[in-house]
Symmetry: D2
Subunit: 364 residues, 4 copies
């Protein structure tokens, strides 16, 4: 199967190359870039030296000659390639935000500052979080070409951390709070002051507090999981590491019983309740190939999922037992981008979902 | 003035040495360590080579020959030195948890697993958060020797971030959530798996979720600030950096007005309200020498306070305006430990509070 | 094929597990550890959670039930397992220094402080640098079980950087100088002060200057490559990164011609000569699956070989053209340890040498 | 004393601000920047918030109103400001390369691509390595305004590491090799691909091998120290840390005695000879306020000099005793830039050389 990658020179593109080159069903890769067409990818990524020797072509060429196209482009510019792909009858897996809001163009345009270019494409598009929408992806694929709105990195970690709790109706009144830290690759390949080594090394820095574009994407997904509106508070942070997103999620379970002290260590009851909810999570995800609910007593960390498509989840309660604290860890470039995109391709084409994604996470 | 430092070989001890050596009122330093007595401090800390050539003595000696003693010891072992100091009529600044709970021995023993050794010492002890207890410190100092329970690193950043909001009665129902990330020096100087470079570099890892010993300390301080009980949820994280604590704090202001959409960017009203609260914070702290409330549009980061005693605070609202998001940044080894201890010494002795602490934070 | 890994809980062991789990000829893995027997490997390495669920057994069991054994043990303790393997007729790939010196027991014992336990084992042992000894490995494998003395991490990068120059007789009088920096995983999994995050983060530190045990191993290998004695000066450094070894190698080509200025930028002649030598290197390694000689104008970096078995080499001259500067980069845990061990297994068993090692290096 | 800083927004400028604000003889600072004139420095450097509230002015203004000017500008653009300063009768401390070559314009222009703008300024200029040129600085200062060509970061560490050996005639035939690693702040404040966090974190990368502009500066300085031409080979590396330069220096002492084995651990004689040379170094630098020769058995590391003006030096021999290995460590932004500049100011004005520079290095 010939696979096209548009935006191949960005970090998500580079990660797609790494993953697809190890995918047993992936044949030739056609790498495309509007700004680097004519250059060799191995001159841009020294890790690819001697291994991937392609010359970069135009996006149009990639669409014209592939059996499936991945696009890792900035937001707002790729609908025409998606349209061209669908017109040719091939599926298009989009890593931007352009297909993440289905027919809710109003929310999209409120945050991304422009309307849809070709709204009709949403008829065959689906938000590509497999754990939520696997059936819908298959259904669309059975009918023709599919456009995947591949989830954002933060939304993937946040949503998977909340899903069992929301779907099982455990959450009480009040907002879900997601406090998340990302590695610097999340900022992309273009140099900028915020990602300049001396400005971000040895430091933790939140950004876009209360105004990050992933807010509506997460909020919308949580709503679908819960079957009701879910208020979301979200703060992203830059952490001094290359890869990974660690999301610490606070979900209110119910009001604090009157008279309960909240300055004592967790009681046996609280610990038992935490174990129960952990079991519920483990059961909920038991058939998911890429979600690992960790044993009681352990805590998810980005170091457990490095370079892999796994999402690790640990389940805790605060000392009073009234707030569920879920920690989820993903590799932002894999489950948070390229890996999930490959997972979606596997679903579309009926492959084993693990294909090309079954490497062991790197311990260090 | 001769100053003793007990536990001089730990990281807080080393930082005390660095700060006190630049303090114009500090005379000879007597460095003490029960496990390293007889060794040269410069053989342990190469940065001190040629600058601090003292031989380490026993803690008893340090107490006997100093005009003021700092103790950076593990929890639960230092009350006898504190007692000896007070018996000699000199003040004792304790960086452990042993004097942070005043006469609330029940809470202390619930979390630290032992009763007070000499409960009576609390008559002259005070929780040394200057912004909260400056007057009390001065009052005690006027009467005789003082024991300072120097605040924990996390509690300092968390409490200062909440103080104006709580003191001014802005907080509504529901828990205050503190999500904080610390540099690895917070774990101390002793090698351990969790702080082994390959285990913590390039990774974010929460720990002691819902069960960290700083919970009662923060909770108690927030209660004093608010004049009522305040429910606290607290999650600490290890971040791959040497220094700094970044606390992202979520304080509920009130219920979400019915019908308010929560998936839209913040409105003008929300931004204006955020600016108002920021003004309130700036006004609240306007006379504090070490708290900087940042201008609107900027976000606190650990990189702004590196190597310094400053606490930087930025004030934000979530997109609905119902949750106050406060970000506070400190250097965990300075305002979170040794610097605050020196600030307390300055207060006790009636020095300018900035003495020895007025260095510009390192930009990198 | 059943494969045993002795010392499975160390970092090299963990990397062997990662690589062998993706090796198409590797069947069940028997993981062994004398200190952790009875524990689950996934409780020790969270990245393995759900993927490798083995219980650790004793080294004896691993030897008894495997078709090939890898040993990642401290120096000086594994000869009995090697002997047991050979006695059983199976090959043994040893990642310690115990089999790197062939019959030169005097050099071994001068640096490692003990004689060989079973000197006779050297009859079927070989120094496992495939680029140098591939033929000998095959020859031994044709006769029976083989013991591989898998090269040290520093020796691998240093030797491969020197080989073409020495083998082609370019080197002149004077010592070869190898200045190398290693990621902290090179220090192993056991916590120690030198590898404690705050002691090594944000710092460069040389160690064992003029006295590192890899000196005789490198020196001996360079001698075999050159067909004469080669004086070696070697300085290892700890660099604040997890993985990788960067070796900058200085080889004298000949005396400085009298009158040649040495404070001017390199002349055209010097640049042309550098290009020639680069061509010689490229030609020398053209059939090697894991050595990449980089194009002129580029410089090897550990970031090009991350998580992979490649050794990247770039070739330069100093501004006078009298000193060859070779830069080699490897991943210390892969080509410098576990990957090279797997490469040796592939050679022993007649597999394609790339099997299980053909992943693309991670760009970040 | 009013002090002007031209180029105040770059990293060296920021470090000058930090140091001069703590200098007891420094009065008002006039901060200048041609590209940022009119902006507030604290909007550019959040660490300065509330502490340095100056508006940036034009370089001309800074020269016109100061008693001494520091310039941290790119190479090749600042001679006019230097000229204006001298014309006004004030000293000018230049952190670029423009005044490092005295009257040797040919070497300067060969590496920097342009002739001097005002060659005559070299009559009152001096290469500002205090350990080498202190007397000359004083001599010039006694006559009128001085222009300091403040040494480059690499040249400072390299030269100080070689000085005693060269001055005492220990070095034999053959090149001095300097292999050095710098923190990323050495690349300056402007974002660029090479300094983008994901491109340099967790990696070691050499650059400009055999062609770095510091080659002629170091070579020239070594020549003055030795009183003869000294061949230099120099390779700089980027290390994943913010600050520091670690230089590992190889100086040939003499030919290898025939028959001496070079694959054995260092003999007692070699160790004794190393100790002798260490003593020679210690004696040579015994009156230098900022050079620390470390005790035998210890090794210099950038972590010992962090945030300080110290240069730490450790002295070693290779195992044969024929190559002297000197390790020098500086903070590239302090002794390698701003700190040395302040040291030069102290000399010019007859202050104690330690003024403003006596802070203890930060242990972490």
């Amino acid at each position: 199967m010939t696979i096209g990658i548009i935006g191949a020179t960005g970090y998500a593109g580079a990660e797609l190359i790494r993953l697809l080159r190890g995918h047993p069903e992936a044949g030739p890769l056609i790498l495309a870039s509007s700004s680097h067409a004519g250059e060799y990818i191995e001159d841009i990524y020294p890790n690819l030296r001697g291994l991937v020797s392609s010359v970069l072509v135009s996006p149009e060429e990639a669409v014209a000659e592939s059996d499936c196209v991945f696009a890792a482009l900035p937001n707002g510019v790729g609908e025409r390639y998606a349209g061209a792909a669908v017109d040719r009858g091939i599926s298009y897996i989009d890593l931007s935000a352009d297909f993440r809001f289905d027919d809710d163009e109003a929310v999209y345009s409120a945050w991304y500052g422009k309307p849809y270019d070709r709204p009709g494409l949403r008829e065959c598009s689906v938000y590509g979080l497999p754990e939520l929408n696997r059936a819908r992806i298959r259904e669309l694929a059975a009918q023709g070409p599919v456009i995947i709105g591949n989830p954002g990195c933060y939304p993937t970690g946040a949503s998977l951390g909340c899903y069992p709790c929301l779907a099982r109706g455990l959450a009480g009144e009040g907002p879900v709070i997601v406090d998340a830290a990302s590695g610097i690759t999340g900022g992309g390949r273009e140099p900028a002051r915020a990602f300049h080594f001396p400005e971000c090394a040895d430091a933790m820095t939140p950004y876009k507090t209360g105004a990050h574009r992933h807010i509506p994407e997460i909020s919308r997904t949580l709503g679908k999981m819960a079957g009701r509106r879910v208020q979301l508070v979200f703060t992203p942070h830059l952490a001094p590491m290359n890869r990974g997103i660690l999301s610490t999620i606070y979900i209110p379970l119910g009001p604090l019983p009157p008279g309960l002290p909240f300055d004592r260590p967790p009681s046996e009851e609280v610990l038992a309740r935490a174990a129960e909810i952990r079991e519920l999570y483990a059961d909920f995800y038991k058939d998911e190939p890429f979600v690992r609910v960790l044993p009681a007593g352990t805590t998810a960390s980005t170091r457990g999922v490095r370079q892999s498509n796994y999402c690790d989840i640990s389940v805790h309660l605060d000392q009073t037992g009234t707030i569920l604290i879920v920690v989820s860890a993903i590799d932002n470039m894999v489950k948070g981008a390229a890996g999930q995109a490959v997972q979606n391709m596997n679903i579309i084409f009926g492959f084993d979902e693990r294909l090309g994604l079954d490497g062991v996470p790197a311990a260090f």
